[in-house]
Symmetry: D3
């Protein structure tokens, strides 16, 4: 199998660390094809940025879909996920959604711990969008934003352990999701210090992409596929996919 790992952030180092984790998880089962955005933002932290980066993600997927069995949108917050699912005929998985739905199979309540208060709103909105808000005990973050996002995993390690413990012991989370691409790989390192299941979103999203791809589900004839549309200004591959004929409901 081949998994497309689309990082809609422009930070290559994040892509590299996430691709390494995905490869470790996939082993010999799948090739990981990583891509880094060349337009947009160094890292996405708001709905406005996700609006734009989600469009970029659609183009990245469309241009690289050949021979791909499943897609991982490799930014916690899942820019473009719902849109991608409408038009591509392979499973598309988001890091936040896959983490939340997996957490729901690993415990009753789950929490998100992340590196900056700046991410709180967007992540909360992502959980609400899944429909599982009532099982969510909230986002815990350090009180202040540290500008060096890339090294949050090491620089904030002690604080993140403390926040994860509080999520388990005070908020009652059975599962703690370490949200945000900069924290990729931290979960197994701190799991022993947290009295909850701790999950790594990129490992989880990779596992889910493999799981869904293994079901060999056909997609093209779905009644819910949008009707074909002409367009202006899109990349040729995306424009072609959106223009494709599709069955009308009814």
């Amino acid at each position: 199998m081949r998994l497309l790992l689309v990082n809609p952030n422009m930070t290559q180092a994040m892509t590299d660390s996430m691709a390494a984790i995905a490869r470790q998880l996939a082993g010999t089962r799948a090739d990981i094809v990583p891509l880094t955005a060349t337009r947009g933002f160094p890292y996405i932290a708001s709905r406005a940025e996700a609006q734009i980066a989600g469009g970029v993600a659609l183009e990245m997927i469309a241009e690289n879909l050949e021979g791909i069995d499943a897609v991982v949108i490799a930014a916690f917050g899942d820019p473009g996920l719902i849109a991608a699912r409408e038009i591509f005929d392979v499973p598309v998985v988001g890091m936040a959604e896959a983490s939340v739905l997996s957490a729901a199979m690993l415990g009753e309540r789950f929490s998100i711990v992340t590196f900056s208060p700046v991410m709180r709103r967007w992540y909360s909105d992502c959980v609400a969008a899944t429909g599982l808000g009532q099982r969510f005990t909230g986002v815990r973050t350090p009180q202040r934003h540290a500008p060096d996002v890339l090294h949050a995993r090491t620089a904030q390690r002690a604080a993140l352990i403390e926040l994860s413990r509080a999520a388990a012991l005070e908020d009652g989370a059975d599962v703690v999701i370490l949200g945000g691409a900069p924290l990729a790989g931290l979960a197994p390192e701190i799991a022993d210090e947290v009295p909850a299941v701790v999950i790594d979103p990129i490992a989880t999203a990779t596992a889910q992409a493999l799981a869904l791809a293994s079901l060999r589900i056909a997609g093209p004839s779905r009644a819910s596929r949008p009707i074909g549309k002409s367009s202006v200004g899109l990349s040729p591959a995306l424009s072609r996919i959106i223009a494709a004929e599709s069955p009308l409901p009814g």
Copy 2:
């Protein structure tokens, strides 16, 4: 006052008819500045198209914000609305959201009637996003999609009256929203034949934009504004706005 009426669809005729209704509603209170998308789709009907068109809408707003008191995103489905609200310092109103929230002040339950089954999912998702799903009695549409969307208002008039009556009498809607830019202007024409309040989304969105602008609310210092970000590939005006410094929460 000056209202920016941003049509993220590429169909000029829709912009013209919506601008005429907005001008009639605004009278001497505001100048209406209409814009039509030059990239994207003739009309938006899916989440995938809204993902892209929402990014286009952000650029259209950013480039034309000078001297503007409020913005109307003039496509039912509100592409880019949540994103725009995060970064622009004037009220931003969407046709669907403004209709739904106004409907909630005009009755207990509301319905959407529109011209094609193709729109059903996107519109339903818009209502759910407001949080008012429990007061929503559903979308009623003709059974089949008619390709000539632009003339739906006249070609399907009888069917739309029948659907509106069913929304009131069978579904219990107190308010019927005639969703979709192609139906702009139909509401007052058929109101007498429907035993419910019938509202026109573009008139309603214009009224709401004027109402919110009249409150003269200052926005720049909001704690929820995203922190400034560098970017690549955005229009200069949008890039500048997203790069602006903003207060951090905490």
Copy 3:
């Protein structure tokens, strides 16, 4: 246009200050016709009082409806609002509901800040009644009730600023509603000190009443209007309106 501003509280000074704000907002667009209850309570603070004052409000509206384009029920908590909307053929707007629904167009989450813990329950119930409870971050109030309600706006100004800041920074509210007639006019005075949109309920309700009236919606034939009823002991005007024939559903 003419707006009826019905204060179901018996405190004339509250009516005066609210009428002044409504007039400032309406400018030349509408005459404001203020009324103060002559039965009931100095100010309403519970469901029990709202039950009675809501009936008083219905009579006040019925007796003064001639030539009126929209009604504002000028007590946060909206006594009689749902009832009034069933039987009167003009838009009826409540201060709490209009604030909540407007807040939902100005941000993702909203909070209420008010002058006394005594109001907390009633206000929370009002928000729940709109259906938007999931976007509500709660009511913040001083810990103790101060008997001089009328001067809360000046006497508690510093505390109210602090509560509003906490609503934004700790609870994550994008919009803070300064609830309760005694706080009318405070919002613009403290907006600069609060990192959120701060809204004044009477200004907001007036803006919404003008917005809904500008839609020129006809009401009389709604399927949801109650059937006509005879009555005993009501004021003649209200009795007449409730006795009016109306179309039966079905």
Copy 4:
């Protein structure tokens, strides 16, 4: 024990039939003290009427509270219930609420069957107000309103059996509530013909009032009691109760 059975409708015949059922249920356990409204409406069918009749009910209770152990508000729709519960120190039970909460102990899902489509909205809103809307399968009624409400029980008997069967077999209701004072006493007569538990609201409300009274719960010191208020125009007994001192929260 003594139960006050307050009919906020003005129809004495309804009070008589409900009092007979309450007496049969209570047996020697309690005296039933029935009261019929002398102001208001022959029977209540809307929120507007309930606004007024609820105020009447408060006065009826206040004036007759001496020696009473619990109160039943004997109109399905429960006018004044929430208000009464705030200010009176004995349990107050409503026919709709008691039926809904009892139904939730007798099965997973419940339905309301009633005699006229005119009642549908008000009854649905009552269920939503309890918070149990997700277990509610809806209101089933005859398609047309029959003006002779008082004899609905006999005149519509066959239709009501058919509607109850449909509620069970098509909607999946485990419990069918025969809503509305005119149907008092019908439940045991048709229970054998309906494959669901069928409950009579007045019997159920009486049973609940006895149950809550038997718990001998003290009420006066509740933190949620409203603070005392002066008033104008209320009956002396109600005015006295609302003026009573009460502990402030905090």
Copy 5:
């Protein structure tokens, strides 16, 4: 009447104290038939234990159903309640569910106070299962688990009063439920020290069992009864009941 009081815990002392309270409440109205589990756990505190103890409860009920008018499952958390309600033709009441639904008739919001943090999750899940989660202000418990569960009522009395006061004054609960069999009988003792209605689950469940039994509802023909099934390894009485023919829906 005869009420079966089934304690699915194996602790006879708990059964004795609960039976005493049930007898006091029932007076001459009903005989209380208490049973203590002979398999399972000393006291149930988790979903896993409730899975097993619920099956034990079904067998205890089946074997003792002769001449019984209603059943109380006498463990807060209600093991086997939903299952029992499907197959037995008398009302079956659970301590947690009866407390929650009664609380909903005694105030707007309710809280649970209990003796150990160990119980928090299970009790919260019980409330959510009723559908009334939005009126629930949470579980308050001492911070640490005290192994001597049986004497929690006396040993933790001061702490439980403090927690109940906090539930009322800080969380806004109108009603406090003292959850857990070991606290049976505490409610009337501490009611005067708590500014909320305080209810005792076993008294409340007994009152509800009597109330539902007094409605003399017939059950056998319900469409929702499961179809008859053969079984292996069940007690003969339970096997017989589950094998009974029943009407199919449709």
Copy 6:
């Protein structure tokens, strides 16, 4: 890896067909260890049966846990799932829950199609328990129960295709789940005839068990694990697991 496939139904033929599908999905990645219940029911169709069979499943798992990496509870309806997750330190997956959560990654709305109206209530309750009820479009079944459950897959094939088409085209389901062990293997056979994603619960549950096991999550130290308990009458293996010491919260 080794997956325990626990069929809490007593029908060996169901176990065989499910094990075959699980083996096909797992390929060389895992050994499938199938077990069939020796107590309980031929097939489970109600909450009462699930109460008992869930206890049986706990014992089956406890006795066969040695060397197991994940557990699949192989009955749609997931008897014992929540209980098992509390006490076993490997991932435990249910057919219904895994199908619902996977469906949520494959589309916006999902439906269940099954072979008998008898299953409707139990399956609906399972979906509600996940928290995703708002994305669920309901259960579609044939109108009548056919006693030969085992051959439903072939005997009702045409009807099940028709129901699946209706779920997609009328109810708007993006994903159709073919619920119930007797339908194992049908999904790929009919997928081409249904304009929706069609998923097979046993294949999906196997894929999810493999995915969760691949995350190599450690469980023993979770704060949510119940405290150790003595017991009477349980199988020795289960008794030992429930008696194990575990960390207390706090």
